[in-house]
């Protein structure tokens, strides 16, 4: 499967307007998407690279309003994340849970924690060792889309798997 096919499939899965612009997934933009993976991007054509994880595998899953259950699309993305993590054992992951701005700060922190945990549980169930995963919630503190309607909210209700090279022990 080519990178482009994977990307198109990912976009179809997410069914979101923002995905129609592949430039959004350029390496140069990765830093903006909450940072974590930007520093070790590499080439998206190299399947062992973080860039490949972010772009071809897909580093994020989206949630419906006020929910933390995984959609079929999310589970398919996470299957690919788990495969990648099982193949590339030098990497650990922090799963960031996020919420849209419709809710209080405190509740959204708790909701983001639920979303991050849903992803963590799923990756654990696919065999990724617990020692390689951590979770954090940002609540509504770090939206990636800034408008105040559903097109942005849908992008902001997300859990992002941020990978980094595991410290050598």
């Amino acid at each position: 499967m080519t990178y482009l096919t994977r990307l198109l499939m990912l976009c179809a899965g997410l069914a979101l307007a923002a995905c129609t612009d592949p430039g959004r997934f350029d390496d140069s933009n990765t830093v903006d998407l909450n940072g974590g993976n930007g520093g070790l991007a590499g080439s998206a054509s190299d399947p062992t690279s973080p860039a490949y994880f972010n772009q071809a595998v897909g580093d994020r899953v989206l949630f419906i309003i006020d929910q933390y259950t995984l959609t079929p699309e999310a589970r398919s993305t996470l299957d690919a994340q788990a495969d990648w993590l099982m193949t590339n054992r030098d990497y650990n992951a922090v799963i960031e849970g996020h919420a849209d701005e419709q809710g209080t700060r405190e509740y959204n922190l708790a909701l983001g924690a639920r979303r991050a945990n849903s992803v963590q549980e799923y990756l654990l169930s696919r065999g990724v060792p617990a020692s390689r995963l951590r979770t954090v919630s940002y609540g509504k503190e770090r939206p990636i889309e800034i408008c105040s309607d559903e097109s942005c909210y849908a992008q902001n209700r997300r859990a992002v798997t941020v990978i980094s090279i595991a410290p050598t022990s």
Partner: protein, 441 residues
């Protein structure tokens, strides 16, 4: 910090009336429980400068007193240009007829001097113009010269409490989160200021996200949540030294939404572990913590009753966010919110009779109050996003965060009277969120 250097002595000056307390029951009185309020007209002429060093501050103090009183919505200032009489001496008799003629029902007179030690000395009296008598006793306040605003707030608190019969709230501070930058890269730092926006000081830099600061009951310490470790953790910061330490850092957990209990040593907060959020309490002297809730639902935003016996919090155990009250030791909780919509961030009033909350209903956010049994719910505000109420020290005013809509959306602080009147923006130099009002200093 400036306030530390302000040693404030309150010295009884004179008592014109033997039974000064009787003046409290006199005609000059605002009953602020009444439905409609006609603001009470008052005059605060520039204080009499008793030496040259006090000239500028004499006028400034009068201005702050007037701004405090007018800002409540309960008082209306008679402008200086309407005055018939001038106050040229603190000890000369007041010409009541001249003040009656301009309809000043309350009159504040005062004198300022700078003493040989460089201290600011302020004396003032409050007059019931139509009764032609002094309202309570004259007072003398002594402080540093750069603490003149605080002295002015103290005078205004006296005027407010003698006329309304309730405690004031002007000599107080607000800690909040200062916000700069675009919505998707917002920089946040803790800041503290006087309740009216003056004397702004930053307490942290903007290198990590900080959230929801809360004062200790004496105002000397602040609890807040910071991402400086990469994960949300609770810190306690000493206001005077600006030193901080982490309070709660169990690996693999997140902790947030802290609040002091009335004893100043007990803290309640939320911990998220494995996606589940529950409420804990900790003795911050010993660091020992106790889990108070253990449901699979979200339990967060705990707030103590003023007597420390109970805790109000929010939970989605019913399927939507609602408010509950439990014992301060945990155990069974009673749901108190009953309306449609979602309820969050409950805060017990300092008087103990009301709970302020955030309500989300039909795509709008509201700040509201209800009695502690959930009855008599009243919504005070409505906007795209209002949240996070905090009480003035006298339980009369609520400050909160209002965030505007859209890509350019920004947060600022607003205050509103618990009757729903007098909604206004609190001036801040930057965007601002998560205010917490200090006790009266």
């Amino acid at each position: 910090m400036m306030h530390r250097f302000l040693t404030l002595l309150t010295v009884l000056l004179t008592s014109l009336l033997a039974q000064a307390a009787a003046a409290q029951d006199g005609p000059l009185r605002i009953e602020i429980t009444e439905g409609v309020i006609e603001p009470l007209p008052f005059a605060v002429p520039a204080l009499v400068a008793e030496n040259a060093a006090a000239e500028e501050v004499a006028r400034n103090i009068a201005g702050v007193i007037a701004a405090d009183l007018t800002g409540t919505g309960l008082f209306r200032e008679i402008p200086e240009k309407a005055f018939i009489s001038r106050i040229t001496s603190f000890t000369s008799p007041v010409q009541f007829a001249d003040w009656k003629a301009v309809n000043a029902q309350a009159l504040v007179t005062g004198a300022v001097s700078v003493d040989s030690a460089g201290k600011l000395v302020v004396r003032f009296r409050i007059w019931d113009v139509f009764a032609g008598q002094e309202l309570g006793n004259g007072l003398q306040l002594v402080g540093t010269q750069d603490g003149w605003r605080r002295i002015a707030h103290k005078v205004a608190d006296q005027v407010y409490s003698r006329i309304t019969g309730e405690g004031g709230y002007f000599d107080s501070r607000v800690v909040f989160v200062s916000e700069t930058g675009p919505k998707d890269k917002r920089a946040k730092r803790l800041a503290i200021m006087d309740y009216d926006g003056a004397n702004l000081t930053y307490l942290t830099d903007s290198s990590s996200i900080v959230l929801a600061p809360r004062f200790s009951p004496s105002g000397d310490r602040i609890l807040y949540t910071s991402y400086e470790s990469g994960f949300p953790r609770i810190y306690v910061l000493d206001v005077a030294s600006v030193r901080r330490r982490v309070l709660e850092s169990q690996d693999g957990t997140m902790s947030f939404a802290p609040r002091f209990g009335p004893d100043g040593t007990t803290v309640v907060y939320s911990v998220s572990r494995g996606g589940n959020t529950d409420i804990f309490r900790m003795d911050i002297g010993t660091g020992r913590s106790t889990q108070l809730t253990s449901a699979p639902s979200i339990e967060t935003a705990p707030s103590f009753s003023p007597d420390g016996s109970r805790i109000v919090f929010e939970s989605d155990r019913s399927g939507t966010n609602q408010l509950y009250i439990m014992s301060a030791n945990g155990g069974e909780a009673q749901r108190i919110s009953n309306g449609t919509g979602q309820y969050g961030t409950p805060v017990w009033s300092p008087r103990g009779d009301l709970i302020a909350f955030t309500k989300q209903s039909k795509g709008r956010f509201h700040i509201g109050v209800m009695r502690t049994d959930g009855s008599e719910e009243r919504l005070l505000t409505a906007s795209f996003l209002d949240e996070g109420p905090t009480w003035s020290p006298n339980g009369r005013v609520i400050m909160f965060t209002r965030e505007t809509q859209g890509a350019q959306g920004a947060a600022s602080l607003y205050s509103v009277d618990i009757t729903g009147r007098n909604l206004k923006r609190v001036p801040t130099a930057t965007g601002a969120s998560d205010p917490a009002w200090s006790p009266l200093q």
